[in-house]
Symmetry: C2
Subunit: 343 residues, 2 copies
């Protein structure tokens, strides 16, 4: 005799109703406890979330073969397209344009010289015509010729007021809620979280600490040369228009070595510019995690990969498939994109 048959014969209907109600309550309670303790509530259940949780459990379970000492729990994240959006252009480029406008009163010659003329006129076609060389000129002019303190103040001013041309959100509201949760989850499990980005190191250090909870010394990015000097007896560092490190592609393992001196065990990126960082991270001994954000959500964010001008994801996607790296399918893996959508 099966148990339910025994019960169904002896219990009156009223007791069944009471029992069913209790079951429902228990399930609701159970679900709410799960939600309260789920460290990644904005991630849908699925292979990607599973991979992350399995990895974290392995490295934090003392005595398990995958265990990693807390001092070695180093996680690195790309920024543009991995922690915040990057379309229709890197947000730092929008900053550069706004900065050129802010600096233009001191540079009357910009009114008649490209690419500054187009930048000041908001003429994107003219800008496009100046090509990569023009873009680099704008970035150099907007990121040098002032002290590191003055630059940080400009970035902070911009980050708290400028708005994205499509979403009209302040840029720092276009960070990815699921990735914020991932950063917290890793730190709660003894990880040190770093940013390793092609973006400007000084640009990120101005706003990243407050937005991601990552301190300045854990933010690695592209770097310009600096010059130490005394201004009226007061020491300053002047930002020069000369590149010291392009922290992108093969430059990312270089940036990691210079800043950290150890190989991370966890890396997340989203483009071919992250391929070498992921390879480098995945190549060490012991338990390792390499992950990519795949932008598949044209409705809520953007959808792009192999042919994209910004955030091109082609070779790294092939390598991820070949090596079994985690690949976030943004459309299906993420319940929400931005923090404001959370409730």
């Amino acid at each position: 005799m099966r148990v339910e048959q025994g019960l169904s014969r002896t219990w009156p209907r009223s007791r069944w109703i009471r029992f069913a109600s209790l079951c429902v309550l228990a399930m609701l309670a159970c679900a709410s406890v799960h939600a309260a303790t789920d460290p990644l509530p904005s991630w849908n259940e699925g292979a990607t979330k599973q991979k992350i949780e399995t990895f974290v459990k392995a490295v934090t379970t003392s005595g398990s073969p995958g265990f990693v000492e807390p001092a070695q729990r180093i996680a690195v994240f790309d920024n543009d397209g991995t922690l915040w959006a990057e379309q229709p252009a890197y947000f730092e480029f929008f900053f550069a344009l706004d900065q050129i406008k802010a600096l233009s009163p001191k540079h009357p010659e910009w009114k008649t010289t490209e690419p500054f003329k187009s930048a000041l006129a908001g003429d994107m076609k003219g800008l496009a015509a100046s090509g990569e060389k023009g873009v680099l000129e704008l970035v150099a002019a907007s990121h040098s010729g002032m002290t590191t303190d003055e630059f940080a103040r400009s970035v902070n001013q911009w980050a708290s007021t400028a708005r994205h041309p499509k979403t009209q959100r302040v840029y720092t509201e276009m960070v990815y809620q699921p990735m914020l949760e991932l950063l917290h989850y890793l730190r709660d499990n003894g990880f040190k979280t770093y940013i390793v980005s092609g973006g400007g190191q000084d640009f990120m250090r101005a706003w990243v600490p407050a937005v991601y909870g990552i301190p300045p010394e854990q933010i690695v990015g592209s770097q310009g040369e600096l010059k130490y000097e005394l201004q009226n007896g007061n020491p300053v560092l002047i930002k020069l228009p000369k590149v010291a490190l392009i922290d992108d592609g093969p430059g990312k393992p270089v940036g990691i070595q210079r800043a950290l001196g150890v190989k991370p065990i966890f890396a997340f990126g989203n483009s071919d510019g992250d391929q070498q960082m992921l390879e480098w991270t995945a190549s060490g001994d012991g338990t390792r995690f390499a992950g990519l954000v795949h932008h598949t959500d044209a409705a809520r964010e953007w959808s792009y990969d192999r042919q994209s001008k910004i955030g091109k994801l082609d070779k790294a996607l092939d390598e991820a498939t070949a090596k079994g790296w985690a690949v976030v399918d943004m459309k299906n893996d993420w319940k929400v994109i931005y923090p404001a959508e959370k409730n």
Copy 2:
């Protein structure tokens, strides 16, 4: 009536003897408790020790005007001449010579080419004749052409076996016991301790963590260019014979900005190469500490300053006097120099 008169009249001699013995015991106990709790036992009492303790008390006393949040308690130390000895030549130069010998079988041409010929023959006069250019050539040849992992293994092998020509000690035993105590004292008070040295960053990272308790990511030094490549599918970083940063003099605030992005509140150096780091550190708001080790102890270590070829201390000593920075008088401020002398 004074108390001791009253006691002397009523107490028998035997009781006085017992009382005196108890006093002595109490004093001994008190002294031993003091020794046990003194965080800087190898420092003689005096102005320098007092300055350090006063500073640490100020920044750690919650509610005091000098209080500094733990996240801002960043301390930077020069290495050569500040944390370990540097005479008769930087110890990294002795490593370079030994490394040239180790690499020589792969470079038969070195037998007949200067400065390698003199280096291999141990001919210091010949080496001196090759001048600064020769020294740089030796450093470049000994610090490049291998992966970062291979280089770290070479340094570790050397650090555990090579001995100083005068003291015959292993080099890592020539660290300064009072400075080890200072590092611990600061960390016990919530400081993050960094090295910011003209020495090679990769050279220091190989042995510093075990000797000073400072992790690789908190070791900033001079850096060479690196090249990422795949060797049989295995990613490596090759050390190139090209300088990326000379972390000395005005390069020290640059190295600090690149690695940390914040101004330290505490800095210790020993030479003119540390002057800008001390200025930079001392120039911020709030409570600040700048200190110099002055090598005044010809008997136990070395005595040198304004005229020295290695570790020249001239302008920085004048600035220290003018600005009231702490200056360690090694002979009088330190009870012992090296850890082996402790007991």
